[in-house]
């Protein structure tokens, strides 16, 4: 589990665990059938991701927000000490950036030139209690990361082609003395008309009919469940 010679990914906003588990399963880390055990007792797919149950692909517990960037920095420093030239990636929610530890880590990563690190933010503007701008505005988010000393890219996180292009760009910017940040502008519930433009679906599941309706609007997911 020391990840030498591998790129590493840390999910800091652990509450999007269904997406994480789904990607891990379809990437071969564990059987897709195990997804059915999500949030069930005696399972490895805990409500929030953890190393505690030995689920392959998960390297850190997350759920309590704001901690993943620090952990990723530690892993990135270890890579430098080990002469390992692979990269460390993180994903954060935008609401999560209200946690102070994020900014301790942001200052450290730039100040100590942790340049084998690419962080990404799911910049959807929503959190549990409502719009981020109503709960606690993030202000000039791009300007903040630039001011902290990061190399900042922006992209449309719902456009896969644009995102892949931006990630390739981000990768090309590593090793140049600065950590790299990718702000992904996204729409929560993208492609499902009754989920978009609202924070209401942040922490709830669709019922059977809603699921059917949602999948019918997303042809790429048909047949997957």
């Amino acid at each position: 589990m020391d990840g030498r010679g591998q790129d590493l990914f840390f999910l800091s906003n652990g509450h999007i665990s269904p997406v994480f588990y789904s990607v891990l399963a379809r990437s071969g880390y564990f059987p897709v059938s195990e997804l059915a055990t999500f949030r069930k007792i005696n399972g490895r797919l805990q409500g929030h991701p953890t190393t505690h149950e030995g689920l392959p692909g998960v390297r850190m517990a997350s759920g309590s927000l704001g901690q993943g960037l620090s952990v990723a920095i530690g892993a990135a420093l270890a890579k430098k000490m080990n002469g390992d030239d692979r990269l460390v990636y993180t994903l954060h929610g935008d609401g999560e950036l209200q946690e102070g530890q994020i900014w301790e880590a942001a200052m450290f990563a730039a100040g100590k030139k942790v340049d084998n690190l690419i962080s990404t933010i799911d910049y959807n503007g929503r959190q549990i209690d409502g719009d981020v701008d109503d709960v606690l505005p993030l202000g000039d988010l791009k300007g903040k990361w630039i001011a902290f000393g990061w190399d900042v890219l922006e992209t449309n996180g719902n456009d896969m082609a644009a995102l892949l292009k931006t990630m390739a760009d981000a990768k090309s910017r590593t090793g140049k003395g600065r950590p790299v940040m990718v702000l992904m502008r996204t729409e929560m519930g993208q492609g499902v008309d009754f989920m978009m433009h609202s924070h209401e679906w942040h922490g709830i599941s669709p019922n059977d009919q809603q699921l059917k309706d949602a999948l019918a609007q997303l042809p790429e997911t048909l047949g997957d469940y």
Partner: protein
């Protein structure tokens, strides 16, 4: 009665610094992190000799705990250094999620614990840290008693895979443990054999317990003194064995009476062998500014208090 001459007067934090430096030479995977207290934690020698394995994080303890957790993923053995208050209470959730629950091999090394920090006052004198750390599943809690033992413990915890809380302090304190005395995590040390009362102590209070045993012997009381340098896992067998003979106990710690060594030993008594117990500990209060000696006296942690507690315990048999 065994005799423990004072070999020197040294601070336990310097024992940590010496142990860390030795460990750095021995194990290339050992890395050290500090939150702007390198001098206070005596980490200078390590920093000087191994600058590439020393991480200065600035005044950002939460970030330090997370970075330490991440370093373990690359096979490193990180030692974090800051004051006990900032090593525990300030970063409890970071330790809980990123280190303990995630089972990361981080050594949390905490100086300036308890009242003997002195003049800085209650903001810095944490008296709850042993309790906080003991409650975390999988956490080992070690509270060595003098310079030599802190040095030994610093080296020993590197070989134990898993999170460890190592607690030590600021003041110069008698050095009385011979440098070559065997030290094993989880194995209590009987320093004086006795039959009338068992005195279980940790940290700075071990020396005070030895002094109390000497005072008690003048009154014809044979006290057994046991150094409980590991609070978790507790050496339950040593506790049971001692009170099977003495039938009463005193617990001594530079900590709140709730949550620390006394509580841990109480659990042994209630589940294995009901035994009268007296607590020498801070009575559920914060500290204040003062010299270490003044504070230890005011808050009931000096030798006369241990003697009185021992006599009360004997009375309750």
């Amino acid at each position: 009665m065994s005799n423990y001459p004072v070999l020197d007067q040294k601070d336990t934090r310097s024992g940590f610094g010496a142990g860390l430096h030795e460990l750095g030479k021995k194990d290339p995977n050992v890395v050290a992190l500090c939150a702007d207290l390198t001098g206070s934690l005596k980490m200078d020698a390590f920093k000087k000799e191994f600058p590439d394995r020393f991480v200065q994080v600035g005044i950002a303890e939460a970030n330090m705990m997370g970075i330490a957790a991440g370093l373990t993923i690359g096979g490193k053995v990180p030692y974090t250094g800051t004051f006990a208050n900032f090593s525990t209470g300030r970063v409890y959730d970071q330790i809980r999620q990123s280190i303990a629950y995630a089972d990361k091999n981080v050594k949390i090394c905490a100086s300036h614990a308890g009242l003997t920090l002195g003049e800085d006052g209650a903001t810095h004198q944490i008296l709850e840290d042993i309790g906080l750390m003991r409650m975390l599943p999988g956490m080992t809690v070690v509270v060595p008693c003098d310079y030599n033992q802190t040095r030994q413990a610093t080296i020993a915890i590197a070989d134990l895979h898993g999170p460890v809380y190592l607690r030590f302090g600021r003041p110069k304190w008698p050095v009385f443990i011979p440098a070559d005395m065997p030290f094993e995590i989880g194995k209590a040390q009987r320093l004086i054999e006795g039959t009338d009362v068992s005195i279980f102590a940790c940290g700075h209070l071990v020396w005070r317990a030895l002094q109390a045993a000497q005072e008690l012997s003048k009154q014809g009381v044979k006290a057994e003194v046991i150094n409980m340098h590991t609070i978790k896992p507790l050496d339950v067998e040593a506790v049971i064995k001692s009170v099977a003979k003495t039938k009463c106990a005193v617990t001594c710690e530079e900590h709140n009476r709730y949550g620390g060594l006394g509580d841990a030993i109480s659990q042994v008594f209630t589940t294995h062998t009901p035994t009268p117990q007296e607590f020498v500990a801070v009575n559920d209060s914060f500290g204040e500014s003062g010299t270490p000696d003044q504070l230890m006296t005011k808050y009931g942690l000096d030798t006369p208090h241990i003697v009185a507690a021992a006599l009360r315990a004997i009375e309750r048999k």
